[in-house]
Symmetry: C2
Subunit: 341 residues, 2 copies
């Protein structure tokens, strides 16, 4: 936009100096006589000049922009991201952290999708949430030496130094304990299919816990993109088990909503017959009946952490303190309420 504007040459001509001097005046590089600077700034003001960050970005290979890639499903199917949920809140908080330090945050499509937009490659650094196993984007970022932070680890590379911890095992423990306290004795897990830490580590910890307590491991996988339908299917799968569960940990809110709806349809009572906890809080869990207990994943805190981690790499001098997230507070609702006396 606004490229029909005046340029550094116009300012130079008007101020009677070279473009070098104008450039130095605005960039703070080099040394310029204060009187000359004043002339330059006056000329610029008269012309309504401002530096073109795109041109400067091209020249300096630095744009002042942090990229955010939402993965895995989101990059390819943004229409499936529901509004009031995790991603917008994460993105908004990350963006504000960047703004506070003079950076813009850009939400970009996954650039490794063939034929898609490659705007991401223009960014000074990238935040990825959540990386998939052997993520091609992460491989690219590393090989090109682009600064990055990951929210949740690549499951095949848990030791990456730039991972923001999402505390999946701890959260899983907390959910399972909560279900037990609510009266559940046979707890099933409904997890997703995306190969991300959140899914993999949850299932792993769930299985460990079941084994420890000698309980059966009841795991159903549901496609993230399947939405409520997939949740309904999961409900049918669970009810078809020989030993029906009386508690379910369902990770995504789409699935949880469909699952509960289906359980009710099939004549079961929630929470009396089956208690349900959703792993990611969302608006749709609050409003309908019964409301569904959920984990507050603290997207804002994670977004701030991820942005801060990246800004620290981009500008080592930066003084950045962001609050630690209180991982996985459980918000209790009807779906795990104890029977009234």
């Amino acid at each position: 936009m606004a490229r029909q504007r005046s340029t550094i040459r116009d300012v130079a001509r008007r101020a009677g100096v070279s473009v070098t001097t104008v450039s130095h005046t605005f960039s703070g590089n080099g040394v310029v006589n204060p009187a000359t600077q004043a002339r330059v700034r006056a000329a610029a003001a008269e012309l309504g000049y401002h530096p073109d960050v795109v041109a400067s970005g091209l020249r300096r290979s630095r744009l002042g922009v942090v990229g955010l890639v939402l993965r895995p499903a989101v990059g390819e199917h943004p229409e499936h991201v529901s509004d009031v949920d995790y991603f917008p809140r994460f993105a908004g908080a990350a963006a504000l952290t960047c703004l506070e330090h003079g950076y813009a945050l850009m939400l970009v499509a996954d650039p490794t999708v063939p034929g898609g937009p490659v705007t991401a490659y223009a960014c000074d650094g990238i935040v990825v949430t959540d990386p998939v196993a052997d993520d091609p984007l992460v491989a690219y970022l590393r090989s090109s030496r682009t600064p990055y932070t990951l929210v949740g680890a690549d499951v095949n590379d848990p030791d990456d130094p730039w991972v923001v911890d999402i505390a999946t095992p701890e959260i899983t423990d907390r959910v399972l304990d909560h279900l037990t306290e609510a009266g559940a004795t046979r707890v099933a897990l409904v997890t997703g299919c995306d190969p991300i830490e959140w899914n993999a580590a949850t299932e792993q910890r769930y299985r460990e816990r079941m084994r420890e307590s000698g309980a059966p491991e009841l795991v159903v996988h549901a496609l993230e993109l399947g939405g409520g339908e997939a949740g309904m299917q999961a409900a049918d799968d669970l009810l078809a088990l020989p030993d029906r569960p009386d508690g379910v940990y369902c990770q995504t809110s789409d699935h949880a909503r469909g699952l509960v709806d289906r359980l009710l349809e099939r004549g079961l009572r929630v929470p009396d017959d089956i208690r349900v906890v959703c792993g990611s809080d969302a608006d749709r869990l609050r409003a309908t009946e019964p409301s569904i207990t959920a984990v507050d994943l603290q997207p804002e805190a994670l977004g701030r952490q991820a942005a801060a981690g990246l800004l620290r790499q981009l500008e080592p001098g930066l003084d950045l303190t962001v609050p630690d997230p209180q991982h996985g507070r459980i918000i209790e609702r009807r779906s795990t309420a104890r029977r009234a006396v």
Copy 2:
């Protein structure tokens, strides 16, 4: 980043063609023999080449990026934006709408702030929420013929064609009716100081309503940046009135929280002595005691509308349907609960 990458020249050399041919192959402009294209793509793949959007953006004056400016306080004091509130949700939803159509959304600082980053000028178009009276940014956008949408009108230019309606008078009516139904007979307004439509139109409608019903007009202005402190001050101001109100419409959540806390401190009961409605829902209104009734401003719906309005200008052919917001649903909480029987 990644500017130590291979360029269009490397690809041209390797494929044995000119850079023009490579450019045409990737941009879809011009006509290139399919066999040649295949050679070019093969060479590009071997080199890991991808077009540089910054260079292309400079040349074509088009970056594929929509800017979002949060105003007025946010641009200058981003640290004052609370996490779980309006802006992140608005921004996240707008961003996803852009992504769905091949654009990136960039959250940028207000470029009219002297000495600040001017990244905003690099965008193909700008969403502004919320413009202030005689907004210099809007003036700039117009004069430079940059596409834009405004969320809430410039109060001195209500007929701008690119405004997303925020339905302030309707919402004000709904809140005042709700307070009356909750038993309030003398309702005060605590509004902000930023010269934005939300403040101005709320106060205007409030005064009209009070005049219609012959009630006194009790208006207190509190600084947006004052936060909870300013809300406490507002409480003191209200209690100092000769005819103490028994209902308060307080627009921002910071103010509302401080206001209620102070009322309790001073020995009043909420809702029994004073009913309170907040004009913008936020996390902090839910958790503490008493929880505070609030207006759900539907930031996600507004964000989608604003982005869609801009994308339609950028690409007139685009098929964009976004849901109309259900402006201003009231979320009832303790602070307006009717006395138990």
